[in-house]
């Protein structure tokens, strides 16, 4: 699985949004969920926090995997979502780097906000959560069979882990 950490906290995210933005909060339901950044629960929490702060969230979108362009394009064509995406001005993406870039490619004219970034490959267990075992070269971290907890990896990489709110 791809390990996804955060580049933004909630306050930084809000600064990237305009008060009149029509916002879709988008989440991948695979790797990003296992990293406790995305998934149904975190998507809902973030959307509700933004609404509470006065932002206009017009849709919460949970996608099986965000790294598959056909699943993204489907949203622009399907009768249930086409209009919503026509009206949206900003999409907040809870996904890995690949998932973010693919959303950005499909919705070229919209403001796409990257929250997560890929930092390597991880191994997951219910008991231990996600652990980074095969880091990207660019992180400067060594591979580890024991793995780095996401908190530990985030601290070393000066990033953040876990849900936005």
């Amino acid at each position: 699985m791809i390990v996804v950490l955060r580049n933004l906290d909630y306050e930084q995210l809000k600064k990237k949004l305009d008060p009149d933005d029509k916002i879709v909060v988008w989440s991948c339901n695979d790797c990003t969920k296992y990293c406790d950044l995305g998934g149904r629960k975190n998507l809902k929490a973030l959307a509700e926090a933004l609404e509470k702060d006065g932002f206009d969230v017009i849709r919460q979108e949970l996608v099986g995997v965000s790294c598959q362009p056909p699943l993204i394009r489907e949203r622009t064509k399907h009768k249930a979502t086409k209009e919503i995406y026509n009206n949206a001005t900003a999409i907040v993406v809870l996904a890995c780097t690949d998932g973010f870039l693919k959303v950005q490619r499909v919705f070229r004219k919209k403001k796409i906000i990257q929250v997560g970034a890929s930092v390597g490959l991880g191994a997951y267990s219910k008991k231990g959560g996600m652990r980074l075992v095969i880091p990207l070269e660019e992180t400067g971290l060594a591979p580890s069979v024991e793995g780095y907890t996401l908190e530990e990896a985030a601290r070393k990489l000066k990033m953040q882990s876990g849900p936005v709110v």
Binding site: M1, I2, D30, C31, V65, C67, C96, T97, D98, L101, K102, R105, S118, G120, L121, G122, A123, Y124, S125, K126, K127, G128, V133, I134, P135, L136, E137, E138, L141, A142, P143, S144, V145, E146, G147
Partner: protein, 132 residues
């Protein structure tokens, strides 16, 4: 989900086994299968070839829905009574097996190329003990 992988050439895998060795083979059925570096069918083919060409004893063959999840591997109740384990999963899957059985040599039958980011491939660090 998808990390980029490629199969280690069979001759290189074969060279790491000896006649009579008791072997467990584990494959991931997600990323490696979709890139034809693993999966049930390929695992059976490699297993049969290793038996014929080298004379190993295949003790068990395990197909995991995803190889980088400890819970799936535990649920399969893998045996520790083997000389070697052949992993047809990415290096994250290989790490799962290494952590569970630190004293058993784990042969990596798959090479991990990196993490895709649109048209780029983000390179990963190669762990010690795998075919790079």
């Amino acid at each position: 989900m998808v990390c980029a992988v490629e199969a280690v050439p069979y001759e290189k895998i074969k060279a790491q086994f000896k006649k009579g060795e008791r072997v467990s083979i584990v494959t991931c059925n997600t990323c490696t299968r979709s890139q034809e570096a693993g999966g049930a069918k390929l695992m059976e083919e490699i297993s049969q070839k290793l038996v014929q060409d080298v004379g190993i004893e295949v003790v068990e063959e395990i197909v995991l829905t995803i190889g980088c999840n400890f819970d799936y591997y535990d649920y399969a109740k893998p045996t520790s009574d083997v000389d070697k384990i052949l992993c047809l999963g990415c290096w994250a899957g290989w790490s799962v097996i290494k952590r569970k059985f630190p004293k058993i040599p784990v042969v990596a039958g798959v090479r991990t190329l990196g993490v895709p980011a649109m048209n780029e491939m983000l390179q990963v660090v190669t762990p010690e003990g795998v075919e790079s």
